[in-house]
Amino acid sequence: MKHTISVLVENQFGVLARISGLFSGRGFNIDSLSVGETEDPTVSRITLVVKGDDMIIEQVIKQLNRLVDVIKVSDLTKDDFIDSELALIKIPCDGKTRSEIMQIVDIYRGRIVDVALRSLTVELSGSEENVRGIMDLLQEFGKLEVVRSGKIAISRDRKNTRGNNHK
C-alpha cells in the first residue's frame, strides 16, 4: 500500500541526504519526495510517498524518527489529509486541436501558462488522480512532456503534525 508520510526536519544542509540515504541504504523505494520551508524558517517539511507493507512502513517511520535532525514524523495515510501536487504539461498541438485541448484543461481547472506555435503548456495542481486523469486524456494529442513536483500533503483540521508534541 502507498503511504503519504510527512516529516518535519531541521532546515540544515545534509538533512535530505540523510533521509534519502536511509531509504537507499535499505533498498526502500521512494515514489515521490518534496521539500520546502515551513512557517518556521528553521524547519522544513518533507512529504514522502512510499510503498510497502505494514512492517516496512513501521520500520521506515521508526528509522526516520531515529535521525537526530528529524523533529516529527506523521503517517498521514491513516487519517484525513489533503494532498496536492503541481504539474507542468507541454502538449503538442496545432490550430485544429488547440481549442479542444483548452476545453479539457478548463474542465480540470488547469491554467494555460504558455502558448507556442506547435505546443501548449498547462499548469495544473491537484491530487495525483487529477494529474493522472488529465495526462490520460491529453496523451491522445501526442507525446507529452511532463514535470511533476511530487506530492505535498497536510492533515485536516484536528490532527497535529507540528513539532510541538514529542514524537
Partner: protein
C-alpha cells in the same frame, strides 16, 4: 568576554566532558589542534593507524562506560576511521571521532587531503557534524558527546575545518543540550510493563534473552534480580556476555550459530522470550521462520527501531533497560517452571559445551580455559574475529559486565589489539588479554608500538592455526575442504615481531607450557605476545549451518 581559537575551545570543551585520553594521529589540517593539546592536561595516545585509534577509543568506552575520543587528520586520516566507526555503530558504542577538514572555503574543491567524510560516514554513525563556524564549536561538541552517550549509544563524528580551529571567537561554555528531534524515551510504558509481568507470571517455559543493551544500560544487577525472582533461565548474545554471571545456575550460555545446545533448545521450545537490549541478530535467530515458534515475545529496548525489525513482538517496551527492569521486578513472581528447569538441566547434562582435549597438541579451547583459570575469570578479554572469538566466548566464563570486548555486529578482524590498549588505559587495575587469531592479529599488529610506548601490560594470546580458521572451517564443512585462500603459510615469527617492537614474545608448542607462559605474561609489566601453536584444523562446535533453524546444530557432542 573570553576570546579563544577554535582549537582552544576544542580543548576546553573536552576537559568539560571529563575526557582523559584522546587516541589519534596528527596531520596538516589538525596541527593547530594538536598544538593546543600540547600543554593541556589531556593525554594524547599516538596510535600507528587511525583504525587503531578508533578501536582503542571503542575498547576504552566498552571497558569504562565512558565516551571514547579520537582526533585524526582530514582525507586519509579520516577515511581510516571508517572501519572503527562502523564497528562502534553496529555494537552501539559511544565514541566521538574528530576529523580535521580542509579550510571551509576549499571544501568541495578537491583540495589536497580532502574527503567528504561527513558524507562517507553518514550511514555508519549515529550522527555527524561539519562545523562551519568557530562560534558553533562548543555547542556541537556538547551535542556530540550527548548524542553519543544517551539513548541507544553510538559513534558521532565531528568534522573540523582548519580555519575553524584557528579562528578566534567568543567562548561561551554550553552546559545544556536541547535538540528538538532527539529525545530518547527512557521510561517504558507502565501498561506494557504490567502486561509483560502478567505474561511472565503465567509462563511455564520462559527464557530471558539479553544482549549488549543490558551492559550499555548498566542493567546487569536488575537482570540478575529478575532472573532469580522468577527463576527464568538466561541466555545472552555475544555482546551480552558478562551481562549475566556465567557461573550462575540459570545461565544458558550464548544462543545462535555457535550457541550452546541447551540455549538453542531452550529458545526453540520456550513459551515466552523476555528479550532485553538485544536485536535478534540473524546470527542468533538462524532461520527466522523456525525461530521460537511457540513463544510469545516481550522486547525491551531503548531503540524503537530494534523492536519488530526481525521478529514479531507481542509486548514492545521502549525505554532504558535498567529503568524498566526495576519497574518490572516488583510485579513478577516466582514462575511455575520446575519442569522446564528440569528439562534444561537434562539438556545441560546431555549436551554440555565440550571439546576433545589432547596431550599431543595444544587445543585452542584449552588455552582459553587456562587463561580463564589463571586470571580467575576477572580479566578483561578482547578478541579478534573468527574461531578465536567464539572460543573466547565459550570457554572464558564472564562474570561481570564490560569484561568481554568483541566486535559482534560488524565482525571486525583487527579489533582486539587496539581495543585491548583502550581497555588497559581505561582500567589499569585489570589484567587484559586479547585472544587473537594469527590472521586477525596481522590486521593491526602495528599497534604493538602504541602499547610498548605507553608501557601497557596487555597480553596477546595468538591461537596460531596457520589458517584463516573460521573461513577454513566453513570450507571444510560446506565446500568439500577446498581451502581457497585461507592458508597462512608465511606467517611472520611473532616472537621476533614482539621483540622488534620492544615487547616480550613467547612461543608455546607443548601443552604443559601453556599455563606457565600465561602466568609469566600476567606478571610481565610489558606487552606480551604469546604465540600458541594450536591444533590446525580444530572446529568451533556446535554450529548451526546457514539457513537452518537453531535447533538443528551439528557437532560438539560429548
Amino acid at each position: 568576554m573570553t576570546m579563544m581559537t577554535g582549537a582552544q575551545i576544542f580543548v576546553e570543551s573536552l576537559l568539560r566532558e571529563n575526557v582523559e585520553y584522546l587516541f589519534g594521529i596528527p596531520g596538516g589540517v589538525v596541527i593547530p589542534v594538536f598544538d593546543a593539546l600540547f600543554d593541556s592536561p589531556l593525554k594524547v595516545i599516538l596510535t600507528r593507524h587511525e583504525q587503531g585509534a578508533t578501536h582503542a577509543a571503542d575498547g576504552y568506552a566498552r571497558a569504562t562506560g565512558k565516551v571514547g575520543v579520537c582526533l585524526v587528520t582530514s582525507g586519509p586520516g579520516a577515511c581510516n576511521t571508517v572501519t572503527g566507526l562502523a564497528t562502534a555503530n553496529m555494537d552501539s558504542i559511544p565514541i566521538v571521532v574528530f576529523t580535521g577538514q580542509v579550510p571551509t572555503p576549499m571544501i568541495g574543491n578537491d583540495a589536497f587531503q580532502e574527503s567528504d567524510i561527513v558524507g562517507i560516514t553518514r550511514p555508519i554513525t549515529k550522527h555527524n557534524f561539519l562545523v562551519r563556524n568557530a562560534r558553533d564549536l562548543a555547542r556541537i561538541i556538547k551535542e556530540a558527546f550527548y548524542i553519543a552517550s544517551t539513548g541507544r549509544p553510538g559513534p558521532v563524528l565531528v568534522d573540523l575545518p582548519k580555519d575553524v580551529a584557528v579562528t578566534e571567537t567568543e567562548y561561551v561554555p554550553v552546559s545544556e543540550v536541547t535538540i528538538r528531534g532527539y529525545k530518547p524515551v527512557l521510561d517504558g510504558h507502565v501498561k506494557q510493563i504490567k502486561k509483560a509481568a502478567e505474561l511472565i507470571n503465567a509462563s511455564k517455559k520462559a527464557v530471558i534473552y539479553a544482549g549488549g543493551g543490558v551492559i550499555l544500560a548498566g542493567a546487569a544487577k536488575e537482570l540478575v534480580q529478575l532472573a532469580h525472582k522468577t527463576r527464568l533461565p538466561v541466555t545472552t548474545s555475544l555482546l551480552g556476555l558478562g551481562g549475566f554471571p556465567a557461573d550462575d545456575k540459570l545461565f544458558l550460555g550464548m544462543p545462535g550459530m555457535h550457541g550452546t545446545r541447551f540455549a538453542n533448545y531452550a529458545l526453540s521450545e520456550c513459551d515466552l522470550i523476555v528479550a532485553v537490549g538485544t536485536r535478534f541478530d540473524d546470527r542468533v535467530t538462524g532461520n527466522i521462520k523456525e525461530f521460537a515458534v511457540h513463544a510469545k515475545i516481550i522486547h525491551i529496548d531503548v531503540d524503537p527501531t530494534a523492536i519488530s525489525k526481525n521478529v514479531r513482538v507481542d509486548v514492545p517496551i521502549v525505554g532504558d533497560a535498567a529503568n524498566i527492569l526495576a519497574k518490572l521486578i516488583p510485579l513478577v513472581t516466582r514462575t511455575d517452571n520446575g519442569n522446564w528447569l528440569k528439562q534444561i538441566e537434562d539438556w545441560k547434562a546431555q549436551y554440555p559445551l565440550t571439546y576433545k582435549d589432547s596431550d599431543k597438541e595444544i587445543k585452542p579451547q584449552y588455552v582459553v580455559e587456562q587463561i580463564y583459570e589463571a586470571t580467575k575469570g576477572e580479566a578483561i578479554i578482547t578478541t579478534e574475529v573468527g574461531q578465536n572469538q567464539m572460543w573466547a566466548a565459550h570457554y572464558y566464563k564472564f562474570k561481570s559486565p564490560r569484561s568481554f570486548l568483541s566486535s559482534g555486529g560488524l565482525g571486525t578482524m583487527g579489533y582486539g589489539l587496539p581495543a585491548a590498549i583502550g581497555a588497559q588505559l581505561g582500567r589499569p587495575d585489570k589484567v587484559v588479554f586479547d585472544i587473537a587469531g594469527d590472521g586477525s592479529i596481522q590486521m593491526n599488529i602495528q599497534e604493538l608500538a602504541t602499547a610498548v610506548h605507553n608501557r601497557l601490560p596487555i597480553n596477546v594470546a595468538i591461537l596460531n592455526n596457520h589458517f584463516l580458521g573460521m573461513v577454513r572451517q566453513w570450507q571444510e564443512l560446506f565446500h568439500n575442504r577446498r581451502y581457497s585462500s585461507t592458508c597462512l603459510l608465511n606467517n611472520p615469527d611473532f616472537v621476533k615481531i614482539a621483540e622488534a617492537y620492544g615487547a616480550k614474545g613467547m612461543r608455546i608448542r607443548k601443552k604443559k607450557d601453556v599455563r606457565p607462559a600465561i602466568e609469566e605474561a600476567i606478571k610481565t609489566p610489558l606487552p606480551v605476545i604469546l604465540d600458541f601453536e594450536v591444533a590446525r584444523e580444530e572446529n568451533v562446535y556446535p554450529m548451526v549451518p546457514v539457513g537452518a533453524g537453531i535447533h538443528q546444530m551439528i557437532g560438539g557432542l560429548a
